[in-house]
């Protein structure tokens, strides 16, 4: 059980982590501030108003050290939700552990590192797709050799669904991404059984109970079949689809927020019945703000009640054999296969991204969904039916704008105290390596050790890789 958290400065988030660990949480999950996600320093023009708002603000290794202060990295497992600059944050994590005296092979955790779904749905890319893929395969290769207990890519359908896709689209597009990573890693010369067991998935749990649980079942089947038949995987762990599930943020309503507790419970139940390995239950106030402590606690309790009181987790695939569940699973599998065929026709995932195939499919599905609600063809309790108009009195957690100032001061201090000549030299080496085809992880780790900021590392890579613009799709 792990809950997504991160806000304000590294020191503030560190406090929250300690609170969560004391309340029985077994792993940590890091959400990053948007400027970190896009590789801008806290004092960049684009970071205005964003510092610490959606997650913890990280500029340099110093912030990472503070984030895990007094937390033994060899004892916990950490999940980091970061994509475009994932290699840099992973490098910072490894170096932080190094400074705690732990060797990388002791580290356990997951880094999202799934850039394809960024182009498809979430939009936080930096470089063009091909260059982004190189960085991902660099991290897969590096971890396979040095951080063997680390989950290298969390192939995510969550955001595809949040962007408005249907359940089948989430299933198909996510697995297509997964196969694209497998193919790219094999092209690099890696053995499928060496890296496949460290790939994991991250799905959404939306409202339609049976559709959701059949989605997970279909995903497991498709993955196992293809890994074995198409990619020649032999280890059972390579065929096994491991997945984390988060309940659908988009299903939460701002009206009567307490109803969200019930929604989350049903969604979590579907995920557990569908065989999820781990679960994040959303806090009921998330449609309004970053979750408050009370709401976070209720969400955690929801999981604990499903796991410990309901008994649903005691049996593997308890709904197997039900005529409805089996036929729905089959149908979803077939529909996903039809999508794979279309994607292949377009030349694969990256060409399909460039042709805006996914983006168009999702935009249409999401507009249709909204229209159904407007026309009352789809009922959302408290929103278009059974409304009760009352003022919302949920207390909200606020991030004050002081955070930005504090973070910028920290950054300036680092800039003053580090060896700037050394930073420059290491960045130059990284640049030269990026122009070639070497694995960039060791070079990134060298820049991180000198307290180069994410902004500086990303700018250096941009000089070589360029950036990417998407066409407008509605």
């Amino acid at each position: 059980m792990r809950q997504f958290a991160g806000f304000g400065t590294a020191a503030q988030t560190n406090e929250r982590y300690k609170f969560l660990l004391e309340h029985g949480q077994t792993g940590l999950s890091v959400a990053f501030s948007l400027h970190t996600i896009y590789g801008y320093e806290a004092d960049n023009e684009y970071a205005l108003g964003e510092v610490g708002k959606e997650g913890v603000s990280i500029d340099t290794l110093k912030d990472m050290e503070t984030l895990f202060d007094s937390i033994d990295l060899s004892k916990i497992s950490t999940s980091m939700t970061i994509n475009a600059p994932a290699a840099i944050l992973l490098a910072m994590y490894i170096v932080t552990a190094e400074k705690q005296g732990h060797s990388p092979d002791l580290l356990r955790g997951t880094i999202q590192n799934d850039i394809l779904k960024e182009y498809i749905a979430q939009k936080s890319w930096i470089f063009p797709p091909e260059e982004s893929m190189r960085l991902i395969i660099d991290t897969i290769e590096y971890c396979t050799q040095h951080v063997p207990q680390w989950y290298t890519v969390s192939i995510s359908g969550y955001h595809i669904r949040e962007a408005g896709s249907t359940a089948v689209q989430e299933l198909a597009f996510t697995l297509a991404d997964g196969f694209a990573y497998v193919e790219a890693a094999m092209e690099r010369g890696l053995n499928v059984d060496d890296f496949a067991p460290r790939l994991s998935f991250f799905f959404n749990a939306h409202n339609n109970f049976f559709e959701e649980l059949c989605k997970y079942r279909a995903a497991r089947r498709i993955w196992a079949k293809r890994m074995k038949n198409k990619y020649g995987a032999k280890k059972p762990e390579s065929l096994r689809l491991r997945f984390h599930t988060q309940t659908a943020g988009v299903s939460l309503t701002a009206q009567e927020p307490e109803n969200n507790i019930v929604r989350v419970t049903l969604q979590g139940l579907a995920a557990v019945l569908g065989g999820t390995q781990s679960l994040h239950t959303n806090s009921f106030d998330e449609a309004l703000c970053l979750p408050t402590e009370k709401a976070v606690k209720i969400a955690l309790r929801t999981q604990q009640i499903i796991a410990n009181e309901s008994g649903v987790a005691d049996t593997v695939d308890p709904l197997a054999g039900s005529y409805y569940v089996e036929s729905l699973t089959n149908r979803m599998e077939e529909e996903a296969e039809a999508y794979f065929f279309k994607i292949e026709e377009l030349g694969g995932v990256i060409p399909a991204i460039k042709a805006n195939f996914f983006q168009k499919e999702i935009a249409n599905a999401s507009y249709k969904y909204q229209q159904e609600i407007e026309k009352n063809e789809r009922i959302v309790v408290g929103v278009n039916d059974f409304q009760l108009r009352e003022a919302c009195s949920t207390p909200l957690l606020k991030i004050d704008d002081q955070v930005s100032k504090v973070q910028i001061d920290l950054l300036n201090k680092i800039r003053k105290n580090r060896d700037n000549e050394m930073v420059k030299a290491k960045l130059e080496k990284l640049k030269i390596a990026a122009q070639g085809s070497e694995n960039l992880m060791p070079y990134i780790m060298d820049t991180v050790r000198e307290y180069a900021s994410i902004g500086e590392i990303i700018s250096t890579l941009k000089e070589v890789f360029g950036t990417y613009d998407e066409d407008s799709i509605f």
Partner: protein, 330 residues
């Protein structure tokens, strides 16, 4: 309502005045008339470039890269992106700005999105007015972007001095569209995304077509003139990549070549003459249509004619002739 104050500001290069005048021209043809009436004598300085192509051919990216080059040369650039209005709702989604690089400052690049508001042909009624306003505003170059998908979207050649048509490797439909009408209006074919497989194939497809039918854009422009000397421009083909800027030198060279051709051969004069004729025709159509519509709904004489047609004692053609008489333009 007078627009003197706004026009004064426009003449001084005020951006907001330019923007507001375009809005007014879009919303009200009467006002457009007044505006053009007072600024017309100041027009004629801008070079007008038309760019068209199927959705996804990379028009906005190409314009963005071209504009960057023009701006570096110290030029002021106006861009008008015309998109279709939904015939069902009258609304429109205008998304071209997304791909325009945002490091343009307001001082040297003016981008305006425009819905065609149901006008056929690819342009909006007020596009020509907007071009003139941007010309007077001080743009050295005005780029017009339209979605060219078929034979009917060819109006871009009316205001534009050079017309670029964008194609991408792989898409087979565009060749059909070219055969159906785009061919005749094109000065420069641009094969974008030259790194994709099939780029050379596309170039040879176009070359083949060009051999079969020479551009008759310039024949057409001389149609009604006795003893006109027909100067032929053979459409050129450029392969490039608008994202990386590869081969843009080549494109610029050809644009300049075409500009020089227009000037040296005197075709530019024909071109102006035809542009004025065409524009006048458009304005007349618009005005007459409005007048006739007004008449049909309000004139008792016409009600009388309609009853006669209903009784079969008159036919619609005869009624139309009588209405023309009423208008006094027989």
């Amino acid at each position: 309502m007078g627009f003197e104050a706004l026009i004064d500001r426009l003449l001084k290069g005020d951006t907001r005045a330019a923007a507001r005048l375009i809005t007014i021209a879009e919303n009200d043809i009467g006002a457009a008339e007044e505006i053009i009436n007072s600024i017309y004598k100041h027009t004629g300085k801008a070079y007008i470039l038309g760019i068209t192509g199927a959705p996804g051919s990379g028009k906005s990216t190409l314009i963005s890269t071209l504009t960057n080059i023009f701006v570096k040369e110290g030029k002021k650039v106006g861009i008008i992106c015309v998109d279709p209005t939904s015939p069902l709702t009258g609304g429109a989604l205008l998304g071209d700005r997304i791909r325009m690089k945002k490091h343009f400052t307001t001082d040297n690049v003016f981008i305006r999105s425009m819905a065609n508001r149901g006008q056929l042909g690819g342009l909006a009624r007020a596009t020509e007015d907007a071009i003139k306003i941007l010309d007077v505003y001080g743009c050295d170059i005005v780029i017009i972007e339209t979605v060219g998908v078929g034979q009917s979207e060819v109006d871009i050649f009316r205001p534009a001095q050079s017309v670029l048509v964008l194609l991408v490797p792989g898409m087979g439909d565009d060749i059909q569209a070219i055969k159906a009408g785009i061919m005749e209006i094109t000065d420069i074919f641009v094969v974008n995304k030259m790194d994709l497989p099939g780029a050379d194939r596309k170039v040879s497809d176009i070359t083949q077509m060009l051999e079969l039918s020479m551009s008759f854009k310039y024949d057409y422009e001389n149609l009604n003139q006795d003893h006109a000397i027909v100067h032929k421009w053979t459409p050129k083909i450029v392969k490039l990549n608008s994202k990386t800027g590869e081969n843009f030198d080549n494109l610029l060279e050809i644009i300049n070549e075409h500009k020089a051709f227009l000037k040296e051969t005197g075709v530019i004069e024909n071109y102006r003459l035809n542009r004025i004729k065409n524009e006048t025709l458009q304005i007349l159509k618009h005005k007459l249509t409005r007048k006739v519509e007004g008449l049909i709904h309000s004139n008792p004489q016409i009600d009388e004619y309609i009853r006669l047609v209903m009784d079969k004692s008159m036919d619609p053609y005869s009624m139309a002739n009588l209405i023309i008489k009423l208008l006094g333009i027989e």
